[in-house]
Symmetry: C2
Subunit: 205 residues, 2 copies
DNA sequence: TGTACATCAGTGAACGCGCGTTCACTGATGTAC
DNA sequence: TGTACATCAGTGAACGCGCGTTCACTGATGTAC
């Protein structure tokens, strides 16, 4: 792990982590392969022992991000316990928590403009994350009267969109608006109101 | 307007439009000043007669975007006619319509990472857009029983977030998810459910 | 109406820079005997 | 236990490129007399 002399030991992962730190601070476009190499204590050329190139390195960052993301969401969902509703709300919170704790990953995943189909590994990881979310929505969907039930994939998309919007607009110093609300509260209340609109939450809260 | 020989006539605006087209197709980071100059039929150096530099040119794109955006939203809001609710929904639709029709502007505004405070003109335009949205939310807020009424700025933020999320995740070929729903429908239903959650829409629709 | 001149928008060549990538190489490691 | 050798991770120099920006300039335009 500690770099000792000529051979690094675990350069591949060290590069990924260097890249993530750089992406976090410079954005996915500002990130350079040379800087990543430098901050891993290595020549730019060394990167090519482990990655096909710049794009491939970003792809691996995104892939690891989707894995962590899916794990986190899965853990938050906790097989629908204690109730489908609570579990669903927990995944919403997990979404924001992930974006907070792994900003470099989040940017690599959603802001780098990377093509998911570039690598099958990446596509698979992304698909897995999506599946967790859809499963939560699907379980919840069963509690809505069938005649006025929107497709589960639709309200999973609604919640995903709101979550992503909150991250982009209110956890960055972005131009959209500066709400006087902490993003966590904003998302929590937003999802709450939305779920009430679906008839899944009593109107008292 | 037609470029004739040495003097261009209206190079400043021509550069803005060239930049917007490039931003639309390459993203705000892929956009280069040299390309913008080239596609306006002019030497890169000529750009400096009209803009302080690359950043300044992007800033002007964003500024014009916020102006158009505010105009469009304002027109859609139509002074709260026919009802506060319908007018609010119309602004939601206008948001997505703007992102669709002016993708270059939208990207310059929300994805270029530009600092709003770089230029006072830009900050002012952004503020104006925000004000239109908040006004719509404020008018609507009066129809909610006072005891369970969230701050107007909060639900304006909710709707803005969902709108932005829909644009980013579902109108681009983005990785989030590929919903089988057209973005317009997704946003319309999403806002509908949200407003029902606020008690502003009867539960029948 | 014609000429002299000030203005200024755009030219074109040049700059320094840092990028991603390549290549032949070299030094460290581990395995076979 | 010691030596020869294959493997391969990393070096360092070099490349071509296109970028944003600068500078002295020149050509077109419009105005004063």
């Amino acid at each position: 792990m500690a770099k000792q002399g000529y051979h690094h030991g675990n350069l591949r992962q060290a590069l990924v982590e260097a890249a993530l730190t750089l992406i976090e601070s410079q954005g996915p476009q500002g990130f350079t392969l040379s800087d990543a190499a430098k901050s891993a204590g290595v020549t730019p050329a060394a990167v090519y022992r482990h990655f096909a190139g710049r794009e491939d390195l970003i792809g691996e960052c995104a892939r690891q991000g989707f894995e962590i993301f899916a794990d986190l969401m899965d853990h938050a969902y906790d097989d629908g316990k204690p109730t489908a509703l609570r579990a669903f709300e927990a995944t919403g919170r997990a979404y924001l928590a992930f974006a907070r704790r792994f900003p470099g990953h989040y940017m690599a995943m959603f802001e780098s403009g990377i093509s998911l189909n570039a690598h099958p590994d990446l596509a698979r990881a992304a698909e897995r994350a999506r599946a967790v979310f859809n499963r939560a929505a699907d379980a919840l969907s069963k509690h809505i009267p069938a005649d006025k039930r929107p497709p589960a994939s639709m309200f999973s998309a609604h919640v995903w969109a709101m979550s992503h919007g909150v991250v982009e607009l209110y956890t960055r110093s972005a131009p959209g608006a500066r709400a006087p609300f902490p993003p966590e509260e904003l998302l929590e209340t937003g999802i709450g109101i939305y779920l009430r609109g679906l008839g899944l939450v009593p109107a008292d809260a």
